[in-house]
C-alpha cells in the first residue's frame, strides 16, 4: 500500500513537471487570434469543451488558464492544441452559468513567454437541446461518395451515424426533419434504386413512395405540423447548372415546384390550388400554432436566359389543423419585388416571436450563393433585419431553432469558402443575438482535414433511434406505402 502511494506521488510529480509555469511573460496588448475564434462567444453550459489552437503564429508551448467569475479554474498547457478535460470543463461551466469565463492565453517561443489580453466566454443561462442531426457530404456537384446523416451530442464530441449510404449500395440520404426537434417523429429520404421516404412516427418506422401521378416529383423539404398530424412538403423539378467564372460554382434551379401537405393518419397528400400554380412555390413551414403555412414563391422564369430574375418572396396562407383545409388567399409577408432579393429556408422560432430566413440575390439554393445572409423577421412588428451579429462575407444558409427558441444553428462557408461548417448562436429575451461559435471538435484542426460539408443541421432534444438493420431490410424489400393524392 505504502509503495503504491509512493508510485502515485512520483507519477503526480512527473505529470506536474509537464506543465511549465509561465514566468515573467511579455504582455501583448491584443487578444490572441484563436482558431477557431471562440473569443467573446456565448455558449450553453452543457457545451463540449471549446478546444482551440493558434495558427497565425509559431510557438513551442501554449498555456491557457480559464477562470470562472463565480467559481473554479482550469489550467491547460500543450505544445500544439488546447484540449480541455471534459469533466472539469463541464463542472466549470455549470458552476458559472449566467456568468463569464476569463481566458488567458500565453505562448512560449524560443524560451520566452508572452501573454495576451484575456478574452471572455459567456455561459448562458438558457439550456440547449441534446444534440444536432446533420448530413455530412462532400460539397460536390451531381455524384456523391460516402455520406450519411449523423447525430452529435452537443455535450461531448460523440458523433454517431443514423444512416450512412454504405448501408444500401448506391443510395443517397437527405431531407431529414423532426417535429419540434422531437427525435421520435422524423422524416428521412433515401434516394437510389432502393429509395424511399422513411417516416418515424412515435418511434415506429414506415417506408413510403411519395411520388403520385398528380404531383411533379417525390416530396422534399419536409416540415412537420406541430400537432404531428401533417407534414408539409414541396415537390420540385430541380436541375443544376455550373458557372464558369472563378468565384462561382453551382446553380440549382426549380423548373417547376408546388407545395403539398400530407395527412399522416389518412395517408392523403393534398394542396390548395393557390399552392399549385405555374409559379414556383417551395420551402413550406408551419407556424408554431399550426394555423399558418409559410412558404416561398417566385414568378416562373426561363432559366437559361433569366435565372437571375428568379426571386422568391415570403408568403403565407391560413391552415386549419382540424380539417386540413387551407385559407382562400395568400398574403405576401416579404415581397421580392420590394427587396430585389430572394428568400429561402424560412424557419419560425417555436416561441412564435421570429421567423429566420436566408436572403440571397436570386434563386432558391442559397447554399451556393456567397452573398447569402441570415435575416430575422420579428413576427409581431413585421420588421426584418439582417443578422449582422452572425453573418459573414461568405455563405450563411440553412438554419434551425432549438426547442426553447434561444439558440439557433446555421451552416456557413466562412471557414474556407467551400466546406460548410456549423455555427451556433443565442437569442435572448430581448432579441439580442450573440457572436456565433463553431461546433467544437476534440481536435480543433479537425475541419482543415475534413472533406465533408455539414448540411441541414437540425436540433434534437434526445438521441435519435433509427434501427439501421430494420431500415436496410425495409429498403431492400421495396415494399412501400404509397401516398395518395386527393384533389382539393
Amino acid at each position: 500500500m505504502k509503495r503504491n502511494l509512493v508510485y502515485i506521488f512520483l507519477l503526480l510529480i512527473i505529470l506536474s513537471a509537464c506543465n511549465e509555469s509561465v514566468k515573467s511573460p511579455v504582455m501583448v496588448n491584443a487578444k490572441p487570434a484563436l482558431y477557431p475564434d471562440y473569443s467573446d462567444v456565448t455558449v450553453p453550459a452543457s457545451i463540449a469543451p471549446l478546444n482551440f489552437t493558434i495558427t497565425a503564429e509559431k510557438f513551442d508551448r501554449i498555456d491557457v488558464v480559464v477562470s470562472g467569475s463565480k467559481h473554479g479554474e482550469l489550467h491547460v498547457q500543450s505544445k500544439d492544441v488546447i484540449q480541455f478535460p471534459q469533466d472539469e470543463w463541464k463542472q466549470l461551466l455549470s458552476d458559472n452559468k449566467g456568468k463569464d469565463l476569463k481566458v488567458v492565453v500565453s505562448l512560449k517561443l524560443d524560451g520566452k513567454w508572452k501573454q495576451y489580453q484575456p478574452f471572455a466566454i459567456h455561459v448562458s443561462e438558457y439550456p440547449i437541446d441534446y444534440g444536432l442531426v446533420y448530413r455530412m457530404i462532400a460539397p460536390g456537384y451531381e455524384v456523391y461518395s460516402k455520406m450519411g446523416i449523423y447525430q452529435r451530442d452537443l455535450s461531448s464530441f460523440d458523433q454517431k451515424a443514423i444512416v450512412e449510404n454504405t448501408l444500401v449500395t448506391g443510395s443517397c440520404v437527405n431531407c431529414h426533419a423532426f417535429n419540434k426537434n422531437n427525435p421520435t417523429e422524423m422524416n428521412l429520404h433515401i434516394r437510389g434504386a432502393n429509395g424511399a421516404t422513411m417516416l418515424l412516427v412515435n418511434g415506429k418506422m414506415e417506408l413510403y413512395t411519395t411520388k403520385t401521378d398528380s404531383t411533379i416529383s417525390s416530396c422534399v423539404y419536409p416540415y412537420w405540423h406541430p400537432s404531428g398530424k401533417y407534414i408539409a412538403y414541396s415537390v420540385n423539378q430541380t436541375r443544376q447548372a455550373f458557372h464558369v467564372v472563378r468565384n462561382e460554382r453551382i446553380e440549382v434551379f426549380d423548373q417547376a415546384s408546388d407545395v403539398v401537405v400530407y395527412d399522416i393518419k389518412t395517408n392523403q397528400l393534398t394542396t390548395s390550388p393557390l399552392l399549385k400554380t405555374a409559379d414556383f412555390e417551395t420551402f413550406p413551414v408551419f407556424s408554431p400554432d399550426g394555423k399558418t403555412l409559410y412558404f416561398c414563391v417566385s414568378k416562373k422564369q426561363d432559366i437559361q436566359s433569366n435565372y437571375k430574375k428568379i426571386k422568391y418572396s415570403l408568403c403565407k396562407i391560413a391552415f386549419d389543423p382540424a380539417s386540413g383545409k387551407f385559407g382562400n388567399k395568400i398574403d405576401t409577408v416579404i415581397s421580392a419585388t420590394k427587396t430585389g432579393k430572394s428568400i429561402s429556408f424560412p424557419r419560425p422560432s417555436f416561441d412564435g416571436k421570429y421567423l429566420m430566413y436566408t436572403q440571397s440575390d436570386y434563386g432558391n439554393f442559397s447554399i451556393w450563393h456567397r452573398e447569402a445572409d441570415l435575416y430575422l423577421l420579428d413576427l409581431k412588428t413585421g420588421e426584418s433585419r439582417p443578422l449582422k451579429e452572425v453573418n459573414s462575407d461568405n455563405t450563411e444558409s440553412f438554419h434551425d431553432w432549438s426547442s426553447n427558441s434561444h439558440w439557433f444553428v446555421f451552416s456557413s462557408r466562412r471557414g474556407d469558402g467551400l466546406y460548410t461548417r456549423l455555427y451556433i448562436a443565442s437569442v435572448d429575451d430581448k432579441g439580442n443575438v450573440s457572436k456565433p461559435f463553431l461546433l467544437p471538435q476534440k481536435d480543433p484542426r479537425f475541419y482543415d482535414a475534413s472533406l465533408f460539408s455539414y448540411n441541414v443541421p437540425e436540433f434534437v432534444t434526445a438521441p435519435v433511434r433509427v434501427n439501421a438493420n430494420e431500415l436496410e431490410k425495409g429498403l431492400l424489400k421495396k415494399d412501400r406505402k404509397k401516398m395518395e393524392y386527393v384533389k382539393y
Binding site: 460536390g140 455524384v143 454504405t166 458557372h243 472563378r246 460554382r249 474556407d416
Partner: protein
C-alpha cells in the same frame, strides 16, 4: 537429386518474381498508374484511424501504402512481384511443414498465380493479397506454439484479431489450423478438438454479426471483405478460389509420392513447371485487357503531358475509342498539329474531342485534362471532383485533389487550395509539388512564373455563363472571345464543327481566328472550306479563300472519284482516308 531440389526452389521463385515484375513494369504498367490515382495514402493519424475503424483496416492501410508506389510503375511492379513471391514462400512453408515433399514445390505457386490473374483486373486491390499474407503469417506463428492449450487460445484470439485486421479472409486461418492439427501436431484429445471447433465456429460467426450492429454495411460485405475490390457488388468467387487454393495446395503435399531417381525427379519437376507455365500463361493472357491498358496509357501520357508519346502511340496503332481519340486530339492540339493532322487518324465525332460527362470515376478524370488545358478551369475542377466522388470504394484521389488544388490556386480561392495542398503534403509522391505550390498562395507573381499557370490565368473566363454540355460549340466560342490568344479554344471550336459535319457553323466561326495569325490556312480547314464551297453549289472559280495547289488538286481528284461510283470508295479510302473530305462523306 538433393542439389537439384535444393536450388530449383530458389531459382523458380526468383524467376517467377522476375516474370511478375517484368509483366507489371513493362506490359501492364498503365494499370498500375491507373490504380494509384484512385486513392490518396496520407501519413496522418486520421487516415490510419479511419481505415482501422472497419474490418480489414490493416490490410487496407498496408494495401494503400504500397499502392502509392504504383506512381512509379517499375517500383509498384516490384512490390507486387515481391508480395507474390512471399505468398508463394508462405504457402511453401506451410505445405512443407505438413509433409516435406520437394517434388511438389511448383504447386506452391498456384495461389500466387491466381492473384497474378486477379491483378490483371484493375479493380482487385492490393489489400486482398496483403490480407491473405497476414493471415498466413498468423498460421506460420501457429506452427511454433507447442502446447495445445496455448494453440487453442492463440487460434481463438487470432481469429478475432484477424477479422478486424484483414477482413473476410480470416476464416481461412481456422481452416488451415485444423489441417495443421490433423497432419502436423496430431496431439489433440477429443475434448480439445471439441473446444477448438466450438471456438472456431463462435469466432468465425460472431465478428461480422457483431460488426453489423455498429457499422452500416450489408452483412455480405462484412463477410467477404470491404476493401478487396473497388466495387462492392462484385462476386467474391474468384477471391474464394484464391483463398481455398492455399489449404488445397498444402493438402496435396500429403499425397503419397513414390521415391524416384534424380532424372525422374528432374523430369517430374520440369513437367510440373511447364504445366504451370502453360496454364498460368493461358489464364493471365485471358485476363489481360489490352484495350483498357491502351486507354490507360493514353490517359497516363496526357496526365504527364507526354504529348509526343501520345502521338507516337497513335502512329503505331490508331486509337478508336472516344477517350483515347480525345487524348490524341488534345496531344495534337498541344503540339500544334491538330489543324493539319487530326484526320490522319480515326475520328469518332465530337465525342472523340470532348467526351460527354458520365457519372463514373474514369471518363471525367480524363476529360478534366482537356477542359483544364482549354482554360475552362471550373469545368475541369467539376469533372475531377465528380470523378473522385464516383470512386466506388469511397477513396479519395490524389490526382483529383492535386488538380483541385491547382484550379483553386489559379482561381484565387486560397483557403480551399491550402486545404488540399496541406493534404498532399502528407503524401509521399505529391508532397514536394504541394510544398512548391503552397508558396504560390496569395502570390500571383510566383504563380505567373509558371508559364502554364500564367497562360491559364489569362484564358479563364471573366464573364459568367452557365456551362452547357449540349452547346459545347457556343461554350468554346465564348471561351475564345474571352481571350483571343487562346489558340486551343479556337482550334477546338473549329474541330467541334468539323467533327459534327457542321460546315455552316465552321464557315461562320472560321474568320474569328484571324487574331491567331496562322501563316496559312491549316490543311484541314482548307479541305473543309473547299467541301463547303462545293456543297453550296457555287462556282469553284469564285472560291474566296487561298488554298494550296496540292490541296486544290487533291480536292478536284477526290470530287471526280467521288462522283464516279462503282469501286471508287475503296480507292478514295486508299488515297484520301486522311482528309476531312473522307470523314465528311464516309464516317458515320
Amino acid at each position: 537429386m538433393n542439389k537439384v531440389l535444393k536450388y530449383s526452389g530458389g531459382i523458380l521463385s526468383f524467376s517467377f518474381g522476375i516474370a511478375v515484375w517484368l509483366f507489371f513494369a513493362l506490359a501492364y504498367s498503365n494499370h498500375l498508374h491507373y490504380q494509384e490515382q484512385f486513392q490518396m495514402f496520407l501519413f496522418t493519424s486520421d487516415y490510419w484511424a479511419d481505415l482501422m475503424s472497419r474490418p480489414g483496416g490493416l490490410a487496407d492501410y498496408l494495401g494503400t501504402f504500397f499502392t502509392q508506389f504504383y506512381y512509379h510503375s517499375w517500383l509498384g511492379a516490384f512490390f507486387i512481384a515481391l508480395f507474390l513471391v512471399l505468398l508463394q514462400q508462405q504457402v511453401s512453408f506451410i505445405s512443407s511443414r505438413l509433409k516435406d515433399n520437394p517434388l511438389l514445390y511448383p504447386l506452391t505457386f498456384i495461389p500466387s498465380i491466381i492473384f497474378w490473374v486477379l491483378f490483371c483486373d484493375e479493380n482487385y486491390l492490393l489489400a486482398s493479397l496483403i490480407a491473405v499474407m497476414l493471415t498466413l503469417l498468423a498460421v506460420q506463428l501457429y506452427f511454433y506454439l507447442r502446447h495445445p492449450l496455448v494453440r487453442i487460445i492463440f487460434a481463438a484470439m487470432m481469429l478475432l484479431a484477424l477479422y478486424w485486421l484483414v477482413g473476410g479472409v480470416f476464416w481461412i486461418f481456422a481452416l488451415i489450423c485444423i489441417c495443421v492439427e490433423l497432419f502436423f501436431f496430431r496431439q489433440f484429445t477429443k475434448f480439445q478438438w471439441i473446444v477448438l471447433i466450438a471456438l472456431f465456429v463462435i469466432c468465425i460467426a460472431t465478428p461480422p454479426l457483431l460488426t453489423k450492429q455498429s457499422l452500416q454495411y450489408p452483412l455480405s460485405r462484412l463477410w467477404w471483405g470491404i476493401s478487396y475490390n473497388r466495387y462492392s457488388t462484385v462476386s467474391p468467387v474468384l477471391l474464394l478460389l484464391a483463398w481455398i487454393s492455399i489449404p488445397l495446395v498444402s493438402l496435396m503435399f500429403l499425397l503419397p509420392v513414390k521415391s524416384m531417381g534424380s532424372k525422374s525427379a528432374i523430369f517430374w519437376l520440369c513437367a510440373e513447371v511447364i504445366a504451370l507455365i502453360v496454364v498460368g500463361d493461358w489464364f493471365v493472357r485471358h485476363s489481360v485487357d489490352g484495350a483498357k491498358e491502351e486507354i490507360m496509357a493514353y490517359d497516363y501520357n496526357v496526365r504527364m503531358q507526354n504529348w509526343d508519346q501520345v502521338i507516337a502511340m497513335a502512329d503505331r496503332k490508331t486509337p478508336d475509342s472516344p477517350l483515347s481519340v480525345a487524348c490524341l486530339n488534345l496531344a495534337l492540339c498541344k503540339e500544334g498539329k491538330m489543324n493539319d493532322n487530326m484526320f490522319h487518324y480515326f475520328q469518332n465525332g465530337p465525342e472523340g474531342l470532348l467526351p460527354s460527362f458520365k457519372r463514373d470515376f474514369t471518363v471525367p478524370m480524363v476529360v478534366s485534362e482537356i477542359y483544364y488545358h482549354l482554360g475552362f478551369l471550373n469545368t475541369s475542377m467539376q469533372y475531377d471532383f465528380e470523378a473522385m466522388e464516383a470512386i466506388p470504394d469511397y477513396k479519395k484521389s490524389s490526382r483529383a485533389i492535386k488538380r483541385m488544388a491547382e484550379v483553386n490556386l489559379l482561381n484565387g480561392e486560397y483557403k480551399v487550395a491550402e486545404k488540399y495542398l496541406h493534404m498532399l503534403q502528407h503524401t509521399l509522391f505529391y508532397s514536394s509539388w504541394a510544398n512548391e505550390a503552397m508558396q504560390c498562395i496569395g502570390n500571383e507573381t510566383k504563380m505567373d512564373a509558371d508559364p502554364e499557370w500564367a497562360q491559364l490565368r489569362q484564358y479563364r473566363m471573366k464573364e459568367d455563363v452557365l456551362f452547357s454540355e449540349e452547346q459545347k460549340d457556343q461554350m468554346l466560342g465564348l471561351l475564345f472571345m474571352n481571350c483571343k490568344t487562346n489558340r486551343m479554344a479556337y482550334e477546338y471550336l473549329i474541330a467541334y464543327t468539323l467533327l459534327n459535319k457542321d460546315l455552316n457553323h465552321f464557315v461562320q466561326y472560321f474568320p474569328i481566328g484571324k487574331t491567331l495569325n496562322y501563316k496559312e490556312i491549316p490543311v484541314h480547314y482548307q479541305e473543309a472550306l473547299l467541301a463547303f464551297w462545293a456543297g453550296s453549289g457555287r462556282k469553284m472559280a469564285d472560291f474566296p479563300w487561298p488554298v494550296s495547289q496540292t490541296v486544290g488538286e487533291r480536292f478536284n481528284n477526290y470530287a471526280r472519284l467521288s462522283s464516279s461510283g462503282g469501286y471508287a470508295e475503296e480507292q478514295i479510302k486508299d488515297l484520301y482516308s486522311q482528309t476531312y473530305w473522307y470523314y465528311l462523306q464516309f464516317r458515320k
